[in-house]
């Protein structure tokens, strides 16, 4: 019994120590972007995490929008409310699906790659040698990646929403023969820019920070062996997904659930 309490205590201490380390890590990294060189490093990471994730995010968005419209249409048509299709597709995408699914895809596509890349740099002593040259790897390697992820994911989320809404239009209007005017009209009447688009963006910014933070921290903090890298990559995807889904509930409760 005693030993279990002890083990729980040790686990708690380790957890808080890790959180503390991650917090200090974030604080030290976040400040590093002012120089022109830094700006260019950020641009390169934007290309890596943003532009190269675009294809998977847009294709997923298109299909999710199409499926939403197809499923929604068959249900709404029972109530004679198929004109509310646009509203349903747009609200589900903007408030919920676009921020969450884009963040999950981002964690799988870009987050795991960031972890592996930084981990490999650690394993091959590139981070150490950078330190010995007198360059802080937190500012040189981690900061541009952190900021690029923070900017790229919200943009990807916007793309996801736009393509998804268009996918819903393709299925609901072009294929199933709904009325285009009511698709857009109902949508415009029910979507509030600040409450729906804005809150979706806030969600996305929070997810972007959390996913990128987890990814770079796991890369920076891993055991520099090939096994360590593979474990850290897995951890990035698992932790990011759990964090995104858990935070999504909290944020939804605060934003749309009437809490606070």
């Amino acid at each position: 019994m005693m030993s279990r309490v002890l083990r729980l205590g040790r686990f708690g201490c380790e957890l808080f120590e890790a959180l503390g380390r991650a917090g200090i890590f974030l604080a030290q990294s976040a400040v590093g972007l002012p120089s022109r060189e830094g700006w260019y490093l950020w641009l390169r990471q934007m290309h890596f995490v943003g532009v190269l994730s675009l294809a998977i995010v847009l294709v997923s968005g298109l299909f999710i929008g199409m499926v939403l419209a197809l499923q929604g249409y068959t249900i709404l048509v029972d109530f004679g409310a198929e004109q509310a299709l646009g509203q349903m597709v747009a609200l589900s995408l903007l408030r919920e699906l676009a921020p969450v699914v884009a963040a999950l895809l981002f964690a799988g596509r870009a987050g795991s790659a960031l972890t592996a890349e930084i981990g490999l740099m650690k394993a091959t002593e590139q981070l150490s040698s950078m330190e010995m040259i007198g360059v802080d790897p937190l500012r040189r390697v981690v900061a541009p990646r952190l900021w690029a992820g923070f900017v790229a994911l919200p943009l990807l989320t916007v793309g996801f929403s736009v393509v998804g809404i268009y996918g819903g239009y393709l299925v609901g209007v072009d294929w199933l023969g709904g009325f285009a005017g009511s698709y857009w009209g109902n949508m415009q009447a029910s979507v509030e820019f600040v409450a729906d688009v804005g809150n979706g963006m806030v969600k996305s910014l929070v997810f972007a920070l959390v996913v990128t933070w987890i990814a770079v921290f796991q890369g920076y903090d891993l055991v520099p062996t090939s096994e360590g890298i593979s474990r850290a990559t897995t951890r990035t995807v698992v932790y990011s997904s759990l964090a995104v889904l858990g935070l999504d509930f909290v944020l939804t409760a605060v934003m749309f659930g009437g809490l606070a």
């Binding site: 740099m121 002593e125 040698s129 950078m130 040259i133 007198g134």
Partner: protein
């Protein structure tokens, strides 16, 4: 050679987890020479270099670089101090996303505001010194191990440091590139007036160029002296290491229960 050592390690203690790596190490590294630090695998030689470079902090004791305590500097002062040191990592540690030229130019670009033409001249000079001026457009992945280490050496001397730390420079090299590296280290040390610290367990090569040798084992300095002095040292542990005898005070067998008892106990499993 001045009387005060350029790098002094005093009473260094360092533990990783429950395992003591250093239990009171004292080193004095004079300015301008090649000092070798030798010891069996796992004796923490790389850790020692990281302590000297300020990447790790000792549990007790201190490291003085040119009279100043490395671990009592502000982050900024430490980074400034590191500009006076170069370190050659075991793997070379070239930045894999930059080509050879950019790797060597990296320290110049981040620490100086030199115009592009001058950076180019300096980089080509350093590459010429290691004989790889022709490989400037290659990526680190395309280089052989020996070439990567020479490029890393060119990068380490790019800012004309006063001290170079070599971490296992000869490991995994074929005889030719090993010979090239030995000559290179010796020549650079003479030509640039550097202070070199070589951490290695390649006895033959290291002893040919070292001016002074420390042998580390069990977390302490076991012996030190000139290569000639160590060669005739009577301490059985030193002589085993220096002459590479398979069995001696450092046993061939990892500690285990008696062989026969182990074989005869058939308690299942392993």
């Amino acid at each position: 050679m001045s009387d005060t050592p350029f790098v002094a390690v005093e009473g260094l203690h360092f533990a990783r987890g429950d395992k003591d790596i250093f239990r009171g190490v004292d080193l004095a590294i004079p300015r301008g020479g090649i000092t070798a630090i030798m010891g069996p695998s796992g004796s923490g030689k790389t850790t020692l270099l990281k302590l000297v470079g300020g990447q790790l902090t000792p549990d007790a004791g201190r490291v003085l670089f040119d009279g100043r305590d490395v671990h009592r500097q502000s982050r900024k002062a430490l980074f400034a101090m590191r500009r006076r040191m170069g370190m050659l990592f075991q793997s070379g540690a070239l930045f894999s996303d930059l080509d050879v030229f950019e790797n060597v130019a990296f320290p110049l670009r981040v620490h100086t505001d030199l115009p592009g033409a001058m950076v180019r001249d300096l980089v080509l000079m350093k590459l010429e010194a290691v004989g790889l001026r022709g490989a400037r457009d290659m990526l680190p992945a395309e280089l052989s191990g020996g070439m990567a280490r020479r490029v890393a050496l060119a990068r380490a001397i790019a800012l004309d440091p006063e001290l170079i730390l070599y971490d296992e420079p000869f490991v995994g090299q074929d005889p030719i590139s090993m010979g090239v590296l030995v000559q290179l280290i010796k020549r650079l040390n003479q030509a640039l007036g550097l202070t070199s610290v070589i951490v290695s367990h390649d006895i033959k090569e290291t002893l040919t160029i070292a001016d002074y040798v420390y042998v580390i084992a069990d977390g302490q300095v076991m012996a030190h002296g000139t290569p000639q002095g160590l060669d005739v040292d009577r301490d059985p542990r030193v002589s085993q290491f220096v002459h590479g005898e398979p069995d001696g005070p450092v046993p061939f067998h990892y500690p285990a229960v008696d062989y026969f008892t182990d074989i005869l106990s058939s308690g299942g499993g392993r």
